[in-house]
């Protein structure tokens, strides 16, 4: 077989996860749960200064404390710390309590130095510098095509606005961390990770040992959303502690740590201008923006990039475009890839501009999108979505909803690359007819283990329960990190190829022209002494890239309390070949719900005076709860001929844009800053004083003037940090 079968038994149908029973009984062992014999508890001492020169760290008293078996420094010698929470040292001991006590015995000599944690403050000429030899606002990127001035001159309608988006924290429920067992022969790492191979390479590099001497295992992991692609500082520290103690060390971060040091989605500040002809054809677009990826983009992660740039004018092609983007550093933890890096941010401002333009031109907002969207699938999605949502009946002039509680509707679109890449898999057919499939991928919650079983069952003509799936181990054939919505599109073709090859081999060995179905047992009996082991790999033609998606939102806004309630979300998602309908839907629910958090609730708050994160827990950093979840109606666009694409990220992108547009439609006033909290709603309605003072606005204008004056590199395309 060289193509996905037309008629399927399992692909595209709904199948419960094969590891569901392990997860609902507590039997599933995450890195946090592994307990090798003699394991020690590990913990990290973090900087309590937002910026300081560290002159010495004395571990002697901690090392001598009861139960403590090892203590290591994060870095030798004098050093600088650049954010509250930066790693200083780590210790391991026989109990959590002993380690917590001993952490207090570590003596740190430090000279605090001036720091800055607010983006606007960091753009002032006299702001403390994050890096002595650098600038807080560095070089900018510019992309230009056509002639913007001419484009605007020819426009019948022009809209302008400023937008702000917040720093969002990943907050995967299993914190970052590892259980590491160091022996001179091999380092075994049980990692909570999105990439077993990238953790292996990171640990090998850090410890200066061959990659073949590091084994990384990840049977289950409790969420990552882009932040768990490398071993992190905590992985390196756990390994060194294990080496020093001669025992396995579990070093899992605390919930507090998760707010400080393991990534976030950068903030942005944007000034946007959009022009169109009277019939709604987009003619000109201009953007100036800067954003904050923390003290430095990327950080100690293999995720790379994740600066504060984003794709603009996002999904639209506009003949005259000028975009200039920069980043500003502050004394805070570094950003990392976060579910569709750059895209929700880009979608929020661009879709807002589209709605405001539609209002100005007197064109229906959905019509304006269909007119200008360059992607046929997404245009189709708008047509399907508006029918399902009841757009024509529901869409009213902005602010025309009567009463105290106002109702509004909005929509937005998304794009994402997805697609597959180099993954290998191996199939072992045993004489008893049972099958093992091995692949060094990992399941980040999307149901990867089940995907492997379904593809194998489909090709080999077996039931999924006959397939034992082994994943999450660097001893298996290599696969990439689970980033960029590429896992399903990478592993499905590799497993398809391996199983197709295995079936051919089995037919050759057994002499049966079709070894499937009734012939299976007889064919397997002819295998001989050793099981049949056959390899396969990802190849072109079975997966595809480029997924479009659109979402519609209906909201209620209480104009007395400022509280936004979502009545309904309709999500239309381009899926290519759907592998497992059930888990595909779950991912879309999840993307929408995380988008609700981005739209209405989430945002890291830094304290100007102390440099600490003020909301490092779930009481004060609000995640969407069950009560916040509206009815979510999902439409999956099935296009099996395109192959597998990946949906995890695209389904998250347009939610915030659609909600923000619905709020603007309800109120007749636009909230241009995320999250849309009640105070911003009331301020926009003039019921409480504006959240920004005149001084704040002056600072913002100065910051934009600074960005305008910055030297810039010209780029062809912005790198939205797709990993």
């Amino acid at each position: 077989m060289s193509e996905w079968p037309k008629e399927t038994k399992y692909l595209g149908k709904s199948a419960p996860r094969i590891d569901g029973p392990a997860k609902v009984t507590g039997a599933a062992k995450y890195a946090y749960d592994v307990q090798p014999s003699g394991w020690l508890w590990g913990a990290i001492l973090r900087s309590k200064w937002a910026a300081a020169k560290i002159t010495s760290i004395n571990l002697d008293k901690a090392r001598a404390a009861p139960g403590i078996k090892a203590a290591v420094l994060a870095r030798e010698g004098e050093r600088q710390v650049r954010y509250y929470g930066e790693e200083l040292a780590a210790i391991a001991g026989t109990s959590k309590e002993a380690v917590q006590d001993a952490l207090r015995l570590i003596e740190v000599q430090a000279t605090p130095v001036p720091f800055v944690v607010k983006e606007m403050d960091a753009t002032k000429p006299d702001a403390p510098k994050i890096f002595e030899d650098g600038q807080n606002v560095g070089e900018a990127q510019v992309r230009e095509n056509g002639n913007v001035a001419e484009g605007f001159a020819n426009s019948a309608a022009i809209v302008e606005n400023s937008f702000e988006t917040q720093v969002q924290l990943h907050h995967s429920l299993e914190t970052h961390g590892n259980m590491v067992a160091f022996t001179p022969e091999e380092i075994t790492v049980w990692a909570s990770t999105q990439g077993v191979f990238s953790v292996r390479d990171g640990i090998a590099d850090n410890m200066q040992v061959p990659q073949s001497k590091v084994r990384v295992i990840c049977d289950y992991m409790g969420g990552g959303f882009g932040s768990k692609l490398g071993p992190g500082v905590e992985g390196a520290l756990a390994t060194r502690l294990s080496q020093a103690a001669g025992a396995p060390v579990k070093l899992m971060l605390t919930r507090l740590d998760e707010s400080l040091a393991v990534g976030n989605r950068p903030s942005t500040f944007q000034k946007v201008k959009l022009g169109a002809s009277a019939d709604g054809t987009l003619l000109a677009y201009e953007l100036e923006s800067f954003g904050c990826p923390g003290f430095a983009a990327g950080g100690a992660t293999a995720a790379g990039g994740s600066g504060a740039t984003f794709p603009a004018p996002y999904i639209y092609k506009i003949p005259n475009t000028r975009v200039k983007q920069a980043s500003v550093a502050v004394n805070a933890g570094s950003s990392r890839a976060f579910r569709a890096p750059g895209h929700p941010t880009a979608s929020f401002s661009m879709e807002a501009m589209m709605d405001d333009l539609a209002v100005k031109l007197g064109i229906d907002p959905v019509e304006l999108r269909i007119k200008n969207d360059p992607f046929d699938v997404r245009r189709k999605e708008y047509e399907i979505g508006r029918e399902k949502f009841g757009w024509k009946e529901k869409y009213k002039k902005p602010g025309s909803s009567a009463g105290v509680v106002k109702v509004g509707v909005g929509c937005g679109g998304a794009t994402w690359g997805g697609g597959g890449r180099g993954t290998q898999a191996e199939v072992q057919i045993n004489r008893d007819g049972n099958v093992e499939v091995r692949c060094g991928t990992q399941d980040i919650g999307t149901g990867a283990r089940t995907v492997v079983a379904l593809v194998a069952a489909e090709v080999l003509g077996l039931t999924p329960d006959k397939i034992t799936v082994r994943i999450g181990d660097t001893r298996f054939p290599p696969s990439g990190g689970s980033g960029g919505s590429t896992t399903t599109a990478s592993i499905s073709p590799a497993v398809f190829d391996a199983c197709t090859n295995a079936l051919t081999e089995l037919q050759k060995v057994s002499g049966l022209p079709d070894a499937r179905g009734a012939n299976w047992a007889a064919a397997c009996k002819k295998i001989g002494m050793n099981p049949l082991v056959v390899a396969g790999k990802w190849r072109e033609g079975l997966s595809s890239t480029g997924a479009g998606g659109v979402q519609f939102a209906e909201v209620e806004v209480d104009t007395e309390t400022g509280f936004v309630t979502i009545r309904k979300i309709v999500a239309i998602q381009d899926c290519g070949l759907i592998v497992n309908k059930l888990t595909c839907e779950s991912q879309i629910n999840g993307g929408v719900i995380q988008g609700i958090g981005y739209a209405l609730y989430e945002g890291r708050v830094m304290d100007r005076a102390t440099g600490v994160v003020l909301n490092p827990n779930f009481e004060t950093y609000k995640l969407p709860n069950g009560a916040d979840v509206p009815p979510i109606e999902i439409v999956l666009l099935d296009m099996p001929e395109r192959g597998v694409i990946g949906v995890g990220e695209p389904c998250h992108i347009p939610t915030a844009a659609a909600i923000a547009n619905a709020v603007a439609n309800a109120l007749g006033v636009r909230i241009t800053s995320l999250p849309i909290t009640p105070d911003k709603v009331l301020a926009a309605l003039g019921k409480i004083p504006a959240t920004k003072t005149a001084a704040d606005l002056q600072l913002l204008n100065n910051a934009f003037a600074l960005v305008r004056s910055l030297p810039a590199t010209t780029v062809e395309e912005f790198d939205p940090a797709i990993v």
Binding site: P16, G20, P21, K23, V24, T25, G26, A27, A28, K29, Y30, D33, W41, S95, K96, E97, S172, L173, E174, T175, Y220, G222, G223, F225, R255, K317, P374, V377, R378, K380, T415, W416, G445, G447, S544, T545, G546, A547, G548, K581, T583, E585, S586, Q587, N589, G590, Q594, N617, F618, L623, N625, G626, A627, P631, I632, I634, V635, L636, L637, D638
Partner: protein, 230 residues
Amino acid sequence: MSESSDAPDGHEKGGLSRRTFLKALGTTAVASAAAQATSIAQELQKHNDERVYGPGPAPISLKINGATKKFEVEPRVTLLDLLRNRTDLTGTKEVCDRATCGACTVWLDGTPVYSCMTLAIEAQRREITTIEGLSKGGELTAVQKAFVNCDGLQCGFCTPGFVMSVTALLKEKPKPTEEEVRKACSGNLCRCGTYPRVFAAALEAAGVKTASKVEVIRIDRGTKAPPTYV
């Protein structure tokens, strides 16, 4: 604020000073509160004279999933830490460690509690049930089966907590409404966003029918090629 001189170093205080607070409370209330506090302190003293735990490890005995086990733990050790670090019952998860997420939910005498906010010594003489104690002989419970069938989980880290909350609800209310399910799960957080499926699973386990809101539409673009611009 006139009471700002209360601050010994002359700095202005932002909030209520102690004096303002006492004034506002009224002298009678203060007197009676003080008397009450004294009597509570006396009671505590009397109680502690009888039995003092800590600060070092103390022997305790806990009944977990029907089996009684002995431990030596410091009084500050939470039930969550005891389960996770001193037994192999790691199905109970640590996520926030401060009573906000519900991943550590266990039952004490059949009632769901946050084990991160329960000291291990407090759980003596109580029936402790963890996620591992629900299914007997490897057979999944109706709730567990429904979670698997409805895909009421993604990464699975919050799942044990949700299963404990939903199971406890169905013992009390065998036929709950979706509103009641949402309320029973209001102390559980999920970051993957699995809530709709958790609610569906709870209703399925209770035998209440739910309709899927998902539709699949077959589209033929007439080409296999990826879009040139997306």
